[in-house]
Amino acid sequence: MNYNKLLPLTETTFYIMLSLATPSHGYAIMQNVELLSENKVKVAAGTLYGAIENLLKQKLIIEVKSEDKRRRVYTLTPEGKELLKLEIERLRHLIQISEGIELGGKER
C-alpha cells in the first residue's frame, strides 16, 4: 500500500481513525471525537457515514462482529494502524521543528 498518497490525513479522518484504535460503532466514534477534541470538532452523521465508507473501501478499517444487530462495529486494519502511525510521526516531527521558533508577538 502506498501510504504517502494517503497522507496527510484530514482532521476528521485522523480523529475517526484514532477512535477506531478500539472497536466502535458510528455513534461511539462521534462521541469519542467530541471528547478527544474537547468539543471543538463535531462530526455530523452524514459526514461520518461517508468517511467510514471511504475508510472501508481503502481497507484501512474493517467491520467486526458485534452483538448489536442494528449498528455495525469497525476497527483499524493492520494497514490502518500503519498509516495512523506514520501520520503521528509526521505530526510529531512538525511539532519538533516548531519548538523553540521565535515568532514574536504577545503571549496569550
Partner: protein, 204 residues
Amino acid sequence: MKKFKIIPDFVNEEKFLNEMALQGYYLEKYNSLGVYTFREEAPQSLCYRIDYRTFSSKKQFEDYCALFEDAGWEHVYGTRHSGSQYFLPIPGRAQTDDIFSDKESKAGRYKRYSSQCFASLMLMITWLFVLNSDNWKIWNVKSWYFTPGLWDMPGSLFWKAFLFETPFVILRVAPMILFFFMAILYGYWSVKAKDLYKKELDVH
C-alpha cells in the same frame, strides 16, 4: 395530499419541504417519479435535510438509519434503493444543525446523485437499443407503421389505414418515447448535479 414536483437540487428540495411544513404539510412518502405524499397537521417551522445514498444490503441501511437516530436525526423517509433520504432534527437531541459537517461531504451527495443519473441514462440507452429492432427505428416515423404498402396508398385509403393503425403505433412507440425523454432528462440531471457538486466545493 399528493403533489407532483421534480426538484433535481437538494437545497431547493429542502426549502420546498420546509415551506410545505409551514403550511402544515409533512412529508410522508416520496417516489422517484416525483410524487410527494404529505400528511396534514398543525403548521410548524422545520428544517429538513436530505442525503443521497443507496445501500447494497439491508444491514447497511439499518446501520445508516441507526447512526442518524443516535445523532438526533429522525429518518423521515427513504428506502434502501430510493436514493434520497429525508431527515428531521429531533428537538433537543440533534447536536449539529446539519447532517454534514464539512463542505466536501455536503457536496458529495450531488456526486452520488450524478452517478446514479448517469447509470439510469445508460439503462435507458440500453433499453432503446434493445427495443429498436431491424424493422423499425425510433427516428424513422414511417417505420412505426407495419401496414404493407401504407405510404404508397391513394388518399382516402391511406387515411383509413393510417388512422386505423395509429392507436397500435402509439401503444408500440409510447415506451420508446418515454425511455427517450427519460434518457434526455437523466443525462441533463447528471450533468447539472456534477455542476452543483463543483459549485458546492468552491463555496467558502
